[in-house]
Symmetry: C2
Subunit: 342 residues, 2 copies
């Protein structure tokens, strides 16, 4: 892995830290529109592909059988902040499947924000699986298992029918073979398969256009895309990058973060899928990379430009809230993007 430096972290007039990474932008024909760094390297997509992992839930008819709402479908695609609204929605999803939080196998996680953690502390509670940022995805897996009529226990195991189904869909969407030797365990205990970044960018081009997909799958993809666009708060939460971008772009883009600096995106008007990874796993840099890509790709109105401007150049603050530096794309990154795009 010898990817270029893409993002600088400055303090005063000095570059204090830097982040390397790779970026793949692929069109619906599967053509690499823009490749920066090694886009053939296998990368764990982690949570950035939750929307693809939710396809079996919808295309099997399970989402309809369970009467899932847009907010609940958005939650299946989410890495949420564990706010009350997220935990409650996951609880309702489980109820619809006749299950409870005890059936979740994702493990507990404290809510992301201190004010949400404080609510648990004041209620003398500790976090449970419902607060895990992946609880919606897991509730979806459990719902699918119920509708499939298989044992829900062990639904996180690579050999469980739900995980086998998801692996099959991912193989079809990426054109890649997902074998055991590229399988790792995700933070929420499900299998994650290291896949060439170019391949999951291709999957997102199909996801947001339906091109090359069977009608049933194209419909399922559209429904999940729309759910995330209609309910962006459920995909992340207050102040979060994914929520802010999907709210601000009103349907023009889908974006989804993943652990260890992965980010995926989709731009239906261009038919582009985007996948990127920061080499060192830093979310702060992956966000700047994604914002920079969107800024380069899209004609922006004033509000969209203002939103992206803040996300492309977030400040580094002192604990008194004074700006001490910037996180920002490097000039050679901007030049490489400009050169690669039509």
């Amino acid at each position: 892995m010898d990817n270029p430096a893409l993002v600088d972290v400055t303090r005063g007039s000095v570059t204090e830290s830097l982040h390397r990474g790779s970026i793949a932008i692929v069109d619906t024909a599967g053509k690499l529109v823009c490749g920066i760094g090694d886009v053939e390297a296998r990368v764990f997509p982690r949570s950035a592909i939750k929307a693809l992992q939710a396809l079996p839930l919808v295309e099997s008819g399970a989402a309809d059988a369970l009467d899932l709402t847009d907010a609940e479908l958005a939650l299946t695609c989410a890495s949420h902040s564990g706010e009350v609204v997220h935990a409650n929605a996951a609880r309702v999803m489980l109820m619809k499947a006749g299950l409870t939080e005890d059936d979740l196998e994702c493990g507990p996680q404290w809510p992301k924000r201190m004010e949400d953690a404080a609510k648990l502390i004041l209620a003398d509670e500790t976090p449970c699986g419902l607060h895990n940022n992946c609880s919606g995805k897991h509730a979806g897996f459990l719902g699918l298992a119920r509708v499939m009529g298989v044992d829900t226990r062990g639904y996180v195991d690579p050999t469980h029918p739900v995980q086998r189904e998801i692996r099959l869909v991912m193989e079809q969407l990426t054109g890649d073979t997902l074998s055991e030797d590229v399988c790792g365990t995700d933070g929420c205990s499900i299998p994650t398969y290291a896949t060439p970044m170019e391949s999951f960018a291709r999957a997102f081009a199909a996801f947001c256009t339906g091109e090359g997909l069977e009608p049933l799958r194209a419909d399922a993809a559209q429904r999940l895309y729309d759910a995330c666009i209609n309910e962006p708060y459920m995909v992340a939460g207050a102040g979060r990058f994914c929520t802010r971008v999907m709210e601000g772009f009103r349907g023009r883009v889908f974006v989804k973060t993943g652990a260890e600096g992965v980010f995926c995106g989709a731009v239906p008007e261009l038919g582009f899928g985007i996948a990127l990874k920061c080499d060192d796993g830093a979310t702060r840099a992956a966000e700047v990379m994604m914002a920079t890509v969107l800024e380069a790709l899209l004609e922006l109105n004033e509000d969209e430009a203002a939103l992206l401007d803040g996300l492309v150049n977030p400040p580094v603050l002192t604990r008194r809230g004074i700006q001490a530096g910037h996180i920002r794309p490097r000039q050679d990154f901007l030049a490489a993007l400009k050169a690669a795009l039509p």
Copy 2:
């Protein structure tokens, strides 16, 4: 900055992320014993040099005038976790100088651990400057200002007598000129000067041996070294790298973390100062780098070996606590260290 990859983060059998960095090990003669990456590059030392920033407090006689204990001197060198014991010690230091938490200009910070944050929440309190990981350093600055008889307000400003005094000491210890153009604002609002890493490694070789220092400064350095060794819990807190290493090595090593992946260390029995930085600012990698350096440098007893083994290869865990991977030094890093050391 084109430093080598030193630390891998694995998941299953795949390397998921990696961290680059640079390392300088310097002896008391100022000779570079081992240099990996660009050790002449200017780096903000951040909190890793707090023990050096505390020298004026001791050598001026202010520490004695204020009757500071070992625990309090250790706190001046600390990036603590904001536990009750840390916040209370900072409060007492301020009282000894006739001041209160309102005089702190570092800004508030939530305690590092949720259980300590919970204590504040249950008491219906929010964090204040006392909980800021730098509160001991700031209490020391304020104490020095009082004994110097200067206005305490604005003690974080680069032109304040306290900060001018610290800059002078740092220039003497590093042999570097610290000008405005390499000055940034640290997270706690004090100035931080980007300095060649080799230079602050040299400063730590002198700090832990006294060699090349005026007797008054050598005594002050020894007193601060001993304070951190005697009270390692005050330097960080429960479960923290600096605390565990200084507890486990019982005086053989001094280590101190800084923000953005900086780490400094000192090994008196070898007369070595150590400075390192992870390019991308990741603490998880800087810790593995420091543990790996200590393992390469020192003859270890059984307990020391067991302690370092866990710190050289920390596990990557799922939210259920199952091991999903490792953080670990790369083979070429180990080989480079072995080749460089006598």
